[in-house]
Amino acid sequence: MRSEAVRAAARRLLEEGKVVRFLGHAPGFDPTSPFPQLITRAEEAERLVLDHFCAPNLAKYLLDYETQEGVTAVVLKGCDALGLARLLADHRVARDRVWVVGLPCPGMLDRDKAAALLPGVQEARAEGDEFVLTGAGGERRVAAGQVLLDRCLVCAVPTPDDADELLGEPVPGRPVPREEDAAVAALEAMTSAERKAYWTEQFSRCIRCMACRNVCPACNCRSCCFDSEEPRWLSRVTDGPAQEMFHFVRALHVAGRCVDCHECERVCPMDIPLMKLNHKLLQDVEELFELERAFVPREVEPLGIYRPDDPEEFA
């Protein structure tokens, strides 16, 4: 898709000495599973790719270089850029130490969906509102809606607004009704006992691998309460109350700070619908505190301020 463009950008930036390292994507064991790739020399640029399977958000890797010299270039999609904005707002990354190579993103494909539509899929190209999948099983033309990641179906900010350079023309957002609000509403329509049963079942699958936390741009604390030995907030025991505590507290810790990037849900190996937790909190923050839905981190966090006339429900 934009592989040549990203290689050219990496070569140029590294040759000119504008940056000392470049974070992009490289082909994985199969082309639908690229991995994050760090390069430091212009001649390594050949390794990079940028295609419709480059879903991983590279923003959080910037924390690995916070104490190292030099500017880091990073390839960011619109959603990834929100992650960077989060890190900037939290003062974890300095803007002048990052060079953002922005990708106006036409949407990333869900490799499971793609593989279900065309077993052995190796490549995808966009044609209008469709994607053409090719692979060992031949070629198949599918509607974008069938194969994009869920998050891309409702993406409002496909183009990073804070990029130092863009790989292509800006892409407009998709004005799609917010299906996740409906998902939250469906849960709210259940009885309390049904919700309890629903979440107990979901959380029971959790293996506590911490991938959701580790990939989350809002979970950027230098040390995390879940790792603390003294006091020990949470042991590794995976019984019901511990799972509930883990997911409740993690969601609450990013309440008002979640950038809606869906990375937690993408990385979860057990497919726990984590965004249903985050979306509930996003909605409540907006309704309770009369805030507009924001797609970039706010200057002051919703839970870092108050209004004397906030709703009074406690007597």
């Binding site: 849960l187 709210e188 309390s192 006992a193 049904e194 919700r195 309890k196 049963a197 629903y198 979440w199 107990t200 309460c225 907030w233 019901g240 109350p241 511990a242 509930e244 505590m245 997911h247 409740f248 507290v249 969601a251 609450l252 810790h253 309440a255 937790l277 509930k280 909190l281 409540d284 923050v285 309770l288 505190f289 919703p302 839970l303 108050y306 209004r307 004397p308 906030d310 709703p311 009074e312 429900e313 406690f314 007597a315």
Partner: protein
């Protein structure tokens, strides 16, 4: 002991300046209230991180009370406004996860409101007794 007879356990996070003094007043004025509450004194209700509440539930509390000065009366001027914001979310989120909202309360109790403290504990205890243990199966397993 059967589940029905079990005295509910409430963990109460009380702010040092108002609610703890209120609880103290209830004691010194010999107002009687159930012995179901275990009090943890905090400098301000704003100190109460939601994870304290969840940790209490995880360790087997049937109900959690957070109590602080009335909005506008905070010893630190504004701490309890933050508390209110935070727990508006927590309250809804508890419900969203299917944890009965009646198991959690945030109350504004001033130093002079000893009777209100006693009444809060009475009310909560009664309600929790009717609700039964948070997770009956888990309680039984623990009792074994």
């Amino acid at each position: 002991m059967s589940v029905a007879e079990r005295e509910p356990k409430i963990v109460g996070f009380l702010c040092n300046w108002c609610s703890y003094a209120g609880a103290d007043l209830a004691g010194t004025s010999r107002t009687s209230y159930p012995t179901s509450v275990r009090v943890i004194r905090v400098p301000c209700s704003g100190r109460v991180n939601p994870q304290f509440v969840l940790r209490a539930f995880q360790l087997g509390a049937d109900g959690v009370l957070v109590a602080g000065c009335h909005p506008g009366d905070c010893h630190y001027s504004t701490g309890n406004y933050f508390t209110r914001r935070r727990f508006l979310l927590v309250k809804r989120f508890l419900d969203y996860l299917g944890i009965d909202q009646r198991r959690f309360r945030l109350r504004w109790i001033s130093a002079s409101e000893g009777p209100k403290f006693a009444e809060t504990i009475r009310e909560m205890t009664e309600e929790l007794r009717q609700l039964g243990p948070r997770d009956a199966a888990a309680v039984e397993a623990h009792a074994e």
